[in-house]
Symmetry: C2
Subunit: 141 residues, 2 copies
């Protein structure tokens, strides 16, 4: 039986985060001591490790919830699992594409600045006028 602090250390999670996962139903309510403190078993450790690892790979908590549900049906086809992972891959690729456009534009405007006064700063000029941009950075980041 593990205390919440031990579970936190073993999984590299903050104690509050564990309680938060319980609150949103991502971790089951654990047993309690007489005094009301949480006590965890190995299955909780596995589940939390899964969640943290999936988070590190960028999955949202909603996606993780789906993955955990699917993981409970070992006999089913893994098509849904792969679909979720594929969607995640696509999202990552989209973000990379967008960030790469930003990187290019930032590099370019920094390269063009002659490091003189604010009045002549090329960086500010570009920020003032998207027409001075070569990149098409649609919405958000």
């Amino acid at each position: 039986m593990l205390t919440i602090g031990t579970l936190a250390k073993r999984t590299g999670t903050k104690v509050q985060t564990i309680r938060y996962y319980e609150q949103i139903g991502l971790l089951p309510e654990p047993g309690r001591t007489e005094g009301g403190q949480r006590r965890y078993g190995d299955s909780d450790l596995d589940r939390l490790a899964f969640i943290r690892h999936a988070r590190q790979l960028g999955f949202t908590l909603e996606a993780i919830r789906e993955l955990l549900d699917l993981s409970d049906n070992p006999d089913r086809s893994c098509a849904d699992v792969d679909r979720i992972a594929h969607r995640q891959l696509k999202e990552v690729e989209v973000r990379i594409t967008r960030l790469d456009a930003l990187r290019k534009e930032l590099k370019r405007m920094l390269g063009e600045c002659s490091r003189d006064t604010v009045a002549d700063c090329r960086v500010l000029e570009v920020l003032r006028d998207h027409a001075a941009c070569l990149t098409d950075h649609g919405q958000g980041v």
Copy 2:
């Protein structure tokens, strides 16, 4: 004189977002009609366009606040402006590096899956155990 709706349309911003920027002090409080409706001038249009463009390039609102302050002192050296832009470039590069590691790992685990049952799904196996990862995806995304 522009209404908030017109200003929103001209800059591709939501009306609520404009009021939000005012609330956090990023846009000055505009004049009002007798009835209390906001009316904007061209300087507001320029300032908001600047903010939105900088946001599209990934600058935080705090960075934008600094840039706007600097922009008000045309005679000063632009070193600070360039430092902010440079910091932004670095952050973008870090994020790209991290996302690229995620992309590789997601691609790899999807490539290794034999698309059979959930019990054998390689994607889930990797998620369960970071040792099965080739990538070192430290903290967060």
